[in-house]
Amino acid sequence: MDEHTMARPLNILLVEDNLDHAELLRRTLEQFPAAKFLHHVEDGEAALDYIFGRGNFRDRLQFPSPDLVLLDLRLPRLDGLDVLRHVRRHPTCHRLPIVVLTTSEAERDVAAAYEYHANGFVSKPVDVQRLSDLVDGLEWGEASDRGGL
């Protein structure tokens, strides 16, 4: 975590349909000092609304634009991969760092995640160290697409 990111806390958007898992993650992030603000949506549609600042999340003061999205793949209403796709296609936020949460390390999921240009994945239950490393690994403020490699 470099000084730049220390400057202000990361706005992390959590997209997760399982409430228990969401709770677990929330608690994990409590230990993650960089994540000061956390918003949780439960489906893909809501996720996109939030990311693009539309629908219910038009108010950016209330719902600031996320710096990082933690995205579960299995979502109702819009699959995680679709969310990825949509985000990546959009010019404004296709650089938005997105980390995929997965219950398994099935190769299919990993491959798919990277194909859809996720910046990384982490399996649940999320280990805070792993997350920290991941976030550190991301190159903030610079264009970088790790996905698909």
Binding site: D20, E23, L24, P76, S104, P125
Partner: protein
């Protein structure tokens, strides 16, 4: 006395005057006192000039006088003074003198004289004068000189003559018989002849030097020497090998001279001449010509010589001919005499060759004679003609005959239809007829050029194969002895026969005669006939079938194949009846002798074709195909029998039949359909199974040949065509799946295997397609595939969905631990509850899985299920929930019965109704409809609600395992998955239609009838 004295004086004077000799009288001193005319003549002085003036000595040169004086001095022994004394000394002495002196004449010339001086004495015998007689001895001298010359010449001759000469004197005995002779003189030739030199011979006798000489020679020589009669004879000296003419003569009595002439050459020449003469005589005798020589004199001709032959030719004896040559004229035919005389005269006048031919009567017969002679002119002789006479009667006859023949020939030549051309060996056209011109369309001009080459070219142009005939056409003057025969074909279809033969005279080829005949019509007719005959012959011999000819009873001919076929020789077939070449009975039981019936039919005009068993010579039998045809051969009715051994074919047929049976069996019993297509795609043949597959029943009668494309739907057409096209080039992938359509529209999945069929030559003629109905298998495979996919999804889903609660458990357990360690207890209950809930969730999930798995097992056997009753039962079961929600359920009353497991079907309906209740509208009571409708021949049931509806993107996902539209809702999310599973198991399907959120949803499902069920996995 005076008279006597006067007479004596006259006589004296006469003598003196007329004497031929010069008489000069002188006185004692030599002074001339008398000088006769002869002396005058001799000396050239007149008497007056010399008498009393000069002495005798003045006529003589002083040197002679001196010489004579010296001579006389010696002889007389006393000096004699030169001068007159030299003349007179001898006479004075009384010695006779005759001396040759040179007389000096007046004109200075000199004369040799012989002077004879005698002393004149008176009666006392006292010399008172001298008388000198002088004779001109010029002539004598000349004669002497001549004599000497002759002598010299003679000597020369003697020495040099080739002829050996020897002079001898004969030696006789006392009786006067010659006994020896002596060589007196021999010349060098003689020396050479004898090999003895003159020295050795001269003076010797023959007995001394040549004792070998026979005595009779001595006799002969003696005779000559004594009689003076010369002798001549020939000698042959054997040792010298030479002939000598010996000439013996006697120059003087007692002497004989012998001359030997070497006449060897002459002898030889003579012998040759004799020989020649003999030869000549032989020739003359042997030649068939009479030889004669006639000398032409102004008045008459004289036959100087006639050979025997001549006499024979003219039929007159030699004596008469030589006596009077006019007898020749006598035998000549009166009409020809004039020509004879004319020829004769002409020859004589012009000194030219005499030639005449004419008739004569010889020995009573009329003959033709010919005389030919050439003149020879010798000097001093009248010219003579030497020639030959011969009888040319035969020749004339021949000529006459020839002439007759010629005119006959000429007539024939012009009368014949053939074109004739005669060409001499040198290439000149000697004869031709009109027809030749016509046949060859030759103008007279070309022929008149006598240019055979031009003619040849002209002819060649008209021929159809000029090159082939060129060589033969061009040799119009072929000098061979062969006859030639050609057929000439023309470009315009004419055909000529050309025949030539040499023209011979006396065994020698003098030319060639060509004849041409237009045989166009005949040629083509013959050619056709020949062709036919040839064809027949060819056929007869070269065919692979046996051909036999028979009359109404027996075989009269057969070809080689027949011999082979019956394994016997031709003569073992000829004469036999067909029955004899067959077994006793035919397979159908008929006697082979009934073959005669067939023969009769053929003769009646009906050709026969049938199979028959024949027997070979060795008794073995064979199948044959027999064809009988009747025809006429040289006016006779015969039957042509063609036999083909079909044993092999029969076997092949039997084998083929078996094969066909086998094939048919295979085809008919194969569980797969077999189609035979032609190359255009038409179905030529369908096996019963194929008929079943494509038409629904194996007993279908096909009205026409349908195209194979009829059996595929429109969407599959492209694939089918691609397959077909591939098949045409021999490419047919194995086990191709194609959705096919029966003629009744029923679709089935076919597995196709095909192959391109080729005939014996490799030419494609059709496509064989094996059709296997793999609908079931396809479905099974599809099912398996989908099941596998599902299983995979299932596994994935399960692992995922089961993992979820596990994560919760693990997570919160960890959190609890962390809290416990930190002494935080605030979230203890909450966390533990979460854990328990998660565990429950897992349990539910597992139960749901179990339920799902049970669907694979049929609990109850399928049966007819009355749907109305089933629905009623379900509604009863859910009565509580329905009432709780205040829902209205409407059920169609005539739901068609379904076929399947009642319990399972109940679960389906129950699930659907429960879902409808779950997704009821938020603001009003749910309204649920249950009904059915017909779509085509299927029944579609539906459960409709007017609840929250389902967005279209979820229309499929909702059937997914554990998919919950609303995660917060109750249930495990497997309900619809279960329902689908059950329906699929029954052979049906389910789908949802919903206009969208808030617009309700209708779930449609199908349950196929009994039949489908029978093929479904439910049964096995």
């Amino acid at each position: 006395m005076a008279q006597q004295q006067r007479t004596a004086e006259t006589v004296q004077r006469a003598i003196l005057h007329d004497a031929a000799h010069a008489i000069v009288a002188t006185d004692l001193t030599g002074l001339i006192i008398s000088f006769n005319p002869a002396a005058e003549k001799l000396a050239g002085w007149s008497a007056a000039e010399v008498v009393g003036k000069v002495t005798l000595a003045s006529f003589h040169p002083p040197e002679e006088l001196a010489a004579q004086a010296r001579l006389l001095s010696e002889r007389l022994g006393r000096p004699v003074a030169p001068g007159i004394e030299a003349l007179l000394a001898e006479a004075r002495a009384g010695l006779p003198s005759a001396t040759e002196w040179t007389c000096l004449r007046k004109d200075g010339t000199r004369l040799p004289v012989l002077l004879s001086v005698s002393a004149l004495r008176d009666e006392q015998g006292e010399v008172f004068g001298f008388a000198a007689f002088a004779a001109d001895i010029t002539e004598r001298r000349q004669a002497d000189a001549r004599l000497q010359e002759r002598e010299a010449q003679y000597r020369l001759l003697f020495e040099n003559m080739v002829t050996a000469f020897a002079l001898h004197e004969i030696i006789c005995d006392e009786q006067g018989h010659p006994v020896d002779y002596r060589y007196l003189e021999v010349n060098p030739a003689f020396e050479r002849l004898t090999g003895l030199t003159a020295r050795e011979l001269e003076g010797k006798t023959v007995s001394e030097v040549l004792p070998a000489v026979e005595k009779y020679w001595i006799e002969i020589f003696g005779q000559v020497a004594l009689t003076g009669k010369p002798a001549a004879y020939e000698n042959f000296f054997a040792d010298l090998g030479q002939y000598y003419d010996t000439w013996v003569f006697s120059p003087k009595h007692g002497q004989f001279a012998v001359l030997f002439s070497d006449v060897t050459a002459r002898k030889r020449a003579e012998e040759s001449l004799q020989e020649s003469r003999r030869l000549y005589a032989d020739v003359v005798a042997s030649i068939p010509l009479g030889v004669y020589r006639v000398s032409a004199r102004p008045e008459e001709d004289v036959l100087e010589y006639v050979s025997d032959r001549f006499c024979q030719v003219v039929g007159l004896p030699r004596e008469r001919l030589l006596e009077d040559e006019r007898v020749v004229l006598g035998i000549i035919h009166p009409e020809d005499r004039q020509s004879f005389l004319d020829a004769n005269n002409q020859a004589y006048d012009q000194r030219s060759q005499f030639q005449w031919e004419g008739r004569a009567t010889v020995r009573g017969q009329l003959r033709w004679l010919r005389f030919e002679s050439h003149p020879t002119q010798l000097p001093d002789r009248p010219p003579f003609w030497t020639g030959v006479a011969f009888d040319v009667t035969d020749r004339r006859d021949v000529e006459e005959a020839l002439h007759q023949q010629h005119s006959l020939l000429e007539g024939a030549l012009q009368a014949t239809a053939d074109g004739i051309l005669a060409v001499s060996s040198e290439g000149r056209i000697t004869s031709y007829n009109r027809q030749f011109l016509e046949l060859w369309r030759v103008s007279k001009e070309i022929l008149d050029t006598h240019d055979t080459m031009a003619l040849a070219d002209y002819i060649l142009q008209q021929l159809s194969h000029p090159a082939a005939m060129q060589a033969r056409i061009r040799n119009f003057n072929d000098t061979s002895r062969a006859d030639t025969f050609d057929t000439l074909e023309f470009t315009d279809g004419r055909v000529y026969e050309r025949f030539s033969r040499p023209q011979m005279v006396a065994g020698r080829v003098v030319g060639r005669v060509w004849s041409f005949r237009d045989v166009t019509a005949r040629h083509w007719a013959v050619a056709s006939l020949r062709e036919s005959e040839h064809k027949f012959k060819m056929l007869f011999e070269s065919t692979n079938d046996a051909i036999l000819i028979m009359d109404e009873k027996v075989f009269v001919d057969c070809n080689r194949v027949a011999e082979t076929m019956f394994a016997c020789k031709r003569d073992q077939i000829i004469g036999r009846t067909p029955a004899e070449l067959s077994p006793e009975r035919q397979p159908d039981g008929r006697l082979s002798t009934e073959a005669a019936e067939k023969v009769r039919s053929v003769l009646a005009g009906a050709p026969q074709f049938f199979e028959w068993i024949l027997a070979r010579r060795d008794g073995t039998l064979f199948n044959a195909e027999v064809s009988l045809t009747g025809f006429e051969l040289r006016g006779q009715k015969v039957i042509q029998v063609i036999i083909r051994d079909i044993t092999a074919r029969k076997l092949a047929e039997a084998a083929q039949h078996e094969a066909e049976q086998l094939y048919r069996t295979l085809v008919n019993t194969s569980p797969d359909g077999i189609l035979l297509l032609d190359l255009t795609g038409r179905v030529l043949y369908s096996s019963p199974k194929a008929l079943e597959l494509l038409h629904g029943s194996a007993e279908t009668e096909l009205p026409s040949l349908p195209g194979a494309l009829r059996f595929v739907g429109r969407q599959e057409r492209h694939q089918a065509l691609a397959l077909f096209r591939g098949a045409l080039v021999g490419i047919f992938p194995p086990n191709v799946r194609l959705l096919m359509r029966r003629s009744d529209g029923h679709e089935f999945t076919a597995e196709l295997n095909g192959t391109l069929l080729r005939d014996g030559l490799g030419v494609p003629w059709g496509i064989l397609v094996i059709v296997r109905d793999v609908t079931d298998r396809q479905r099974q495979e599809d099912e398996l595939k989908s099941k596998n996919a599902e299983l995979e999804r299932f596994t994935y889903t399960v692992s995922h969905d089961l993992r979820s609660p596990l994560i919760t458990i693990k997570g919160f357990a960890g959190a609890l631990l962390a809290d416990a360690a930190a002494g935080r207890t605030g979230r203890l209950n909450e966390d533990l509850n979460r854990i328990l809930q998660a565990a429950d969730k897992m349990s539910d999930l597992l139960n749901g899985l179990l339920q799902l798995s049970r669907v694979g097992r049929m609990v109850n056997p399928p049966t007819q299920v009355p749907m109305n009753k089933l629905v009623a039962d379900v509604l009863e079961l859910l009565a509580g929930s329905i009432a709780q929600r205040g829902a209205t359920v409407t059920v169609q009353c005539d739901l068609p019965p379904a076929y399947g497991d009642p319990q399972r079907l109940q679960e389906v309906v129950q699930n659907l109704i429960e879902n409808a209740l779950k997704f009821s509208p938020p603001d009003r009571s749910p309204e649920i409809e249950i009904g059915s409708k017909s779509v085509g021949d299927k029944t579609v049931y539906f459960v409709r609600d007017h609840g929250r509806g389902i967005e279209s993107r979820f229309h499929e996902t909702i059937f997914g395992l554990f998919n919950k539209l609303d995660p917060r809702s109750d249930g495990t999310g497997i309900g619809l998955a279960l329902v689908r599973r059950i329906l699929e198991f029954h052979g049906g399907s389910i789908w949802v239609e919903s206009a969208g959120a808030g617009l309700g949803a209708t779930f449609y499902f199908t349950l196929p009838g009994r039949k489908a069920l029978s093929t479904s996995p439910l049964n096995g």
